[in-house]
Subunit: 284 residues, 4 copies
Amino acid sequence: MCRWLAYSGSPVLIEDLLYRPKHSLIDQSLHSKLGAETTNGDGFGVGWYGVGETPGVFRSIEPAWNDRNLREISRHIDSPLVFAHIRAAIGSVVQQTNCHPFRYGRWLFMHNGFIGEFSKVKRDLVLAVDPTLYESIEGSSDTEVFFFLALTFGLEDDPPAAVEAAVGLIEDVGRRHGVEQPIQMTVATTDGKRVWGFRYSSVRDSRSLFYSTDVATLRTLYPEVEILHEVSDESRLIVSEPIGDLPGAWNEVPESSYGVVDEGQDELRPFTPKAPSRPTAVPA
Amino acid sequence: MCRWLAYSGSPVLIEDLLYRPKHSLIDQSLHSKLGAETTNGDGFGVGWYGVGETPGVFRSIEPAWNDRNLREISRHIDSPLVFAHIRAAIGSVVQQTNCHPFRYGRWLFMHNGFIGEFSKVKRDLVLAVDPTLYESIEGSSDTEVFFFLALTFGLEDDPPAAVEAAVGLIEDVGRRHGVEQPIQMTVATTDGKRVWGFRYSSVRDSRSLFYSTDVATLRTLYPEVEILHEVSDESRLIVSEPIGDLPGAWNEVPESSYGVVDEGQDELRPFTPKAPSRPTAVPA
Amino acid sequence: MCRWLAYSGSPVLIEDLLYRPKHSLIDQSLHSKLGAETTNGDGFGVGWYGVGETPGVFRSIEPAWNDRNLREISRHIDSPLVFAHIRAAIGSVVQQTNCHPFRYGRWLFMHNGFIGEFSKVKRDLVLAVDPTLYESIEGSSDTEVFFFLALTFGLEDDPPAAVEAAVGLIEDVGRRHGVEQPIQMTVATTDGKRVWGFRYSSVRDSRSLFYSTDVATLRTLYPEVEILHEVSDESRLIVSEPIGDLPGAWNEVPESSYGVVDEGQDELRPFTPKAPSRPTAVPA
Amino acid sequence: MCRWLAYSGSPVLIEDLLYRPKHSLIDQSLHSKLGAETTNGDGFGVGWYGVGETPGVFRSIEPAWNDRNLREISRHIDSPLVFAHIRAAIGSVVQQTNCHPFRYGRWLFMHNGFIGEFSKVKRDLVLAVDPTLYESIEGSSDTEVFFFLALTFGLEDDPPAAVEAAVGLIEDVGRRHGVEQPIQMTVATTDGKRVWGFRYSSVRDSRSLFYSTDVATLRTLYPEVEILHEVSDESRLIVSEPIGDLPGAWNEVPESSYGVVDEGQDELRPFTPKAPSRPTAVPA
């Protein structure tokens, strides 16, 4: 399992997101409370938007808690949209190309969970990736294949539909191979403007996912917390497990649903996998 | 490009193979004379047979010249059959799973050269890998796919025929995609008893490959060189470029041919790629 | 804190020591039960005697649980005397030169615990290291300085006296700087023949330390455990916390004492720090 | 030896400094023309000023030419003052804490060259470091000790005088130990506003050092080079060896001198080591 955090809002120093809070993501890399594993020490990654057309991505196979370069860049980069992920590998190799978030163009993608019995289904899933996208796959993880399936099914145009199609295919292929739990997931993806957060699992018992209460409410509840007065009303966090210890600060994303963090208004909707009906390269 | 060395014979300390000689492989990692690149600093690997059913493989993404652990294990492991490889990456990521030698069961495989325009042909080649072998592919390099194609075509039964079939397929697929130089290669493979060394390229202008003169001859030529009196008559080295500076010590493997180092007698034969005629998963 | 293991006896595969047992040292790297920290993911090291004059040392800053090269060499090296250490850094940098075991000539040294408020006392302690040894210090950890102090005070001649002198100095210097807990330690050291294990702390509340019951007794208690019939009567393990789950297999080393594992007979004696009376470079 | 680059001027993307130019610093990591070694693959470092009180420092032991994180942060950070260094280790360990630039508070320091026979003089030099600074030394390199000596002698108040004192001491201690070439150096240091570049060696045959011609002159010479119209008149580069291929773009810093890049006006002055006359901790 893994832990992750997605931030969207007023530009903040990455350090303020990753290191400063009580029970921060960095703290969770050693002492996760809600994760399937307490230690998430098999590499990490941070993606952020700022200078440059595409987001920056810094990934390493060292444990996040003792990576000095992560601490350095966290102190020296601020950004209005940050993805961060700490990994507890279950199966695939610990290497930079397997660390989240994954990037394609302006898109980032990260995942907590797994594609069930990935070695059984990997070949069929990889074959379903658009051949023009295929060559951009660099690592060997289940999540990267998941991301490229979502891209194949139109992530850049309609993220919820694309993720629903990818998950539909993963469940379909999995079941054909006798996999009992084809997918377990919380997923975040972004184009640098909006953030989508998904919670789903084939067994309807998904990993935890939380989003932060709106900032105006938080300010009323906690007038003394300084940071709440610095960030804009639009600022939001989506996280695998709550950070900090403010009661009332976190709402759980319901089972089998997804949320969108957008400038205008946030939304929460049901998530329903749909195996693509159009013929793909996957053998029947 | 890369540099490599294959040793078979009396057990020797790995250090004696990699560090001791003039113009050693470690020296070549900084100052190759015959390589397409003078620096081979993008990781390395050593494979050896000894304790255990399968060969040991130690691989790292650090330059060989300053890896302390390589120096340590080299001083403390002796073996009768050693493969060593230093990498100059051209395209694929520098990560442990892309370092040579690659291992499957008792087999090792390493390569200097490339599959031309790999990103164009990768998908077709990967599809031709036996689906039961597919899941054992861990990295993203051209050589690993080449190895798994050779395994698909029977490497464990008839190595020359399997490599000829793999190369035949690579050339066939490459030409269908308009690749001018589908393959450039010197390759070594072993099952822990015999060693096969191949030299070939689609343009018939292959990377250099040398094998050592038989030890008895060397002893006569160089009675004062101590190591020659310690190793058995059967001991042989196959290398990308000569090590040491003994005139008469090295013979070039001819263009488009392969050699076998065996207990009884060594052989040198022509190498002729043969595209597999049996139908494969590759679309016509 | 850290966890460590010292083995002396019949040659065994390192893998059998580190990976095979229930609650193995590798398992402890993720889930220590008795350690001050549950995770020991800040690098590791293995030292072993075999081929070569000096022991081999393999150290890495990756967590032990996912280091592929550790697994490889563990499967392919057997040895009659093995030190292994997993680190939970508290202060000093995570770098190879700070990983245990440390080596000097034929000697190995490893430590669980700390020199209290090391930054306050470091300079004085380093000054007390014999100037001819000083240049061999490579890292920045408290343990390496401790090792070089023990070497300065005659480790190679009389290990218990040398460690008592080093600890005496550390406590003396610490107290002069107002350090409340100058030292906390379990330590193992060896010359490749005998192994010394020390347990001590300034506050007399030392980290746990255990040694294995003699093999003959274990064989009687557990006739069905195969490995006990393969290793010699002399074989011994000293560990930070028990490995496996055989009741009766482990004895705790008493507070403020040390043991010697020797070919003839093991001993257990009191440990009494003695600040060196001879003048040193340390300013009064 | 090593190669380095110091930039001061209009904010630029680090990528434009390190990767874009012909014969860029990254290119020099594989193919240095003027360096004592052609390959500078033993780690690297980048320091920059921007967000945050102190400069950011990103250091790694991988060769600069294939470090993906360096490429990422280079594309996503811009800064008005950048130090970059690629290392060819001669003696001291390849580890992050030995990579340049070194940082203390707002200061950065980097060096090409060496302290001669460092292991002989190290102890005396370390003893001369102010005890309150001593505990901030993290690595084992000659340059870090040099930096802390300069800090001891007042770097933050009068950089040229402090470097002259440090070099004076290094030469003094070296000569007392019979070292023929106590120091060989080009050095850059900065407080985030001004940059000092030093060129000196005990044998008066120092490593090369160049500074860029003023931008206005360059614009006249090369009206077609776009970047020259984007950066301010004050922008300057100081480098170990010329970058790019514009004739007239580079001036050599004379032997035994130093330059200051300042907002008002640049200066070039003689450099004269002065052993500190005040008593230090160094034994006579």
